[in-house]
């Protein structure tokens, strides 16, 4: 009997701890969403703690019309989409090559990619700036996208390589006997088979590009900035300073796509993160 009450007490303490931390995580986000849905006058009155009397979407409208967040938003979507597609193509090619084909210096190349994950970014972004400027790629979408592709490359190649290593070889052999070339084998057989790996690569890199700030600040110029920089600029505008609710609306717009994708694809994301951690 005593044993049982002891156990219940123990579990209650643990659950209280967990739930209180979970609440501190969720509460600010709910508060942000809640505040973004009310007019500023109401927000000033109740500090955003009461539910809105009526749902107001004016903040979202003014973020796009006056705050010009739409352009940043489109930029971000463009960068994310192009970068992720490029990473998937380039890294699945390389991962397949390293896993299955034979050529000189293969292992060296693979370890070089792995070693690159150890180089910290602060040691690399200054020369990148000068080199891009020299190449005329500063302030261009191409320069930023290529740099972001490079950032995601190492981990993606590793993920594809380890995935291809686990696949049985029969399929490719029968393809080769049928006279299928290496590139066609990759495109028609191996790449479709690697869907689970592609899932992890896509989500992991999409989040990475969506959240990137430093390289965007270093490489891009005024009109080309992605949403993260746009948020910083917007937060200093007169509109966001005087009406906090518009800032909350802008933050919600940035956070919502990530949260939705995250809740749908949670398993893939966590897989990618743990994979990335164990390599390093």
């Amino acid at each position: 009997m005593i044993e049982k009450t002891k156990k219940t007490l123990y579990l209650t303490v643990i659950h209280t701890f967990l739930i209180s931390v979970a609440l501190t995580c969720i509460f600010p986000l709910l508060w942000m969403l809640n505040s973004s849905l009310k007019p500023n006058a109401e927000f000033i009155r109740d500090y955003g703690f009461r539910l809105p009397e009526n749902l107001h979407f004016e903040n979202y409208v003014s973020v796009f019309t006056q705050g010009r967040l739409g352009a940043y938003f489109l930029n971000s979507i463009f960068y994310t989409a192009v970068t992720v597609i490029a990473i998937v193509l380039v890294s699945s090619l390389a991962g397949y090559g390293i896993s299955r084909l034979k050529f000189r210096g293969k292992n060296f190349i693979f370890y070089m990619f792995l070693a690159a994950m150890m180089i910290p970014i602060p040691a690399a972004f200054v020369p990148l700036y000068v080199l891009l400027r020299w190449a005329g790629l500063l302030n261009t979408r191409t320069g930023y996208i290529l740099a972001m592709v490079n950032v995601g490359l190492s981990l993606s190649i590793y993920l594809y390589k380890t995935f291809f290593d686990q696949l049985p070889k029969d399929l490719e052999e029968s393809a080769r006997i049928d006279g299928c070339g290496k590139f066609r084998t990759w495109w028609h057989i191996m790449f479709p088979l690697a869907k689970p790996a592609t899932g992890v690569v896509v989500i992991f890199n999409a989040l990475n590009v969506w959240n990137e700030l430093l390289l965007a600040l270093v490489i891009l110029g005024e009109g080309l900035m992605p949403l993260q920089v746009g948020l910083l600029i917007f937060s200093e505008s007169a509109l966001a300073m005087t009406q906090q609710t518009t800032l909350m609306a802008a933050l919600t717009i940035t956070a919502l796509p990530i949260i939705v994708i995250y809740l749908l694809m949670q398993k893939h994301i966590i897989k990618g993160v743990t994979a990335g951690a164990t390599v390093g």
Binding site: H15, F17, V90, F113, P122, V130, K182, L247, T254, T274
Partner: protein
């Protein structure tokens, strides 16, 4: 395997290799070159060779002298202990030994001369205190992250592992903040912590804790607020990795210990912790790397202010770059990168040693 076939195979990695060389390898080596130069403020390509000037400026003679002295002592120690025996040819070993002693003495001499010079000029040397202050701030935040954030992550992982085993829900919730991006969290917390409309201060007041009201982003508190905000954003990452580690520990081990009459504390210290050592070190290394590299959070939360109180190392490098001090910025990048690489490698070594 003929040449042509090799070439076709190689073409699979070729695109990756090109991007990688242009954006990683060349910049990496270019940093070393760049760090020995300084650009003119108007044109970045107008480089003048300044030698080790940038490093001297960054390091300030006392620190440089300290490093030289330490290096000299290590060299002489190795030479006297005859650590070069492994070199096969005896004459070569002797030469190396003598050279090492000579180099060691030179280093010590340099250190001594610098120290005397400094004492003479009464410590008037502080070339770039701003840089080392910013590094100090980064490490202050790292300290918070290593203690507060990682302890929280560890406790949460243990709790979830004990009480709810799979913990889908908690995993989803705790990992939400790390993926939301530094800017979003930074701006949200800025709104909550601000002194003027002050959401947190309002909350404190309404629960009767008026005494706790602070200017959280003001001079005294900004850096600690930044550190706590960073920990708040980041603990989910360590939590996920630690939980994954905890769940790989086989249940039978605990069962066996329980049958042998081991109590909970004993099971924790003799099974859980030793099994988790590699994971714990992994989390420590990732925390250090992740924390020293933050820039979005201080930018969003405080803009590096008030009065540069939250300008962390990478932020400082970024500011130098904005001012077109390209050579100096890359020297600072190199120094920071070097510190990080040395730190993480030595931690890896320690982890391996403990494991054996």
């Amino acid at each position: 395997m003929n040449k042509k076939e090799q070439l076709v195979s190689f073409s699979f990695v070729f695109p990756a290799l090109v991007i990688f060389s242009c954006f990683y390898i060349i910049p990496f080596f270019y940093t070393f070159w760049l760090s020995l130069h300084e650009a003119s403020p108007i044109n970045v390509f107008d480089l003048t060779f300044v030698g080790t000037q940038n490093f001297k400026e960054a390091f300030s003679p006392p620190i440089l002298a300290g490093i030289a002295g330490l290096f000299g002592i290590i060299l002489i120690f190795f030479a006297l202990k005859n650590k070069f025996k492994k070199v096969k040819r005896e004459s070569l070993a002797k030469t190396i030994q003598v050279t090492a002693i000579a180099a060691g003495i030179t280093c010590l001499f340099y250190a001594g001369a610098t120290l005397i010079h400094i004492l003479k000029t009464s410590l008037a040397f502080t070339p770039d205190p701003a840089w080392w202050n910013s590094v100090g701030r980064s490490f202050y935040i790292t300290l918070w992250a290593l203690t507060f954030q990682n302890c929280l992550a560890f406790l949460l992982a243990l709790a979830v592992d004990r009480a709810v085993r799979s913990g889908q829900f908690y995993r989803a919730v705790f990992f939400m903040l790390p993926i939301l991006g530094e800017v979003v969290i930074g701006l949200l917390l800025r709104t909550i912590l601000r002194a003027h409309p002050g959401i947190l201060n309002h909350m404190l007041e309404s629960v009767g804790l008026s005494g706790w009201i602070q200017n959280w982003l003001g001079r005294d508190f900004a850096l600690t607020t930044l550190a706590v905000s960073h920990s708040y954003r980041g603990f989910g990452y360590g939590f996920i990795i630690l939980l994954a580690g905890l769940q790989t520990i086989p249940e039978q081990l605990y069962e066996a210990a329980r049958i042998d009459g081991a109590n909970a504390f004993y099971r924790f210290t003799k099974i859980t912790v030793p099994m988790l050592i590699p994971v714990i070190f992994l989390v420590i290394i990732l925390t250090i790397l992740g924390t020293v590299q933050i820039i979005g959070l201080p930018m969003a939360l405080t803009r590096g202010g008030p009065a540069g109180q939250t300008t962390v190392a990478v932020y400082h490098i970024y500011n130098e770059l904005q001012n077109n001090y390209v050579g100096y910025a890359s020297s600072l990048g190199l120094i920071l990168g070097f510190i990080l690489v040395v730190l993480s490698f030595s931690l890896l070594k320690v982890s391996k040693k403990i494991n054996n």
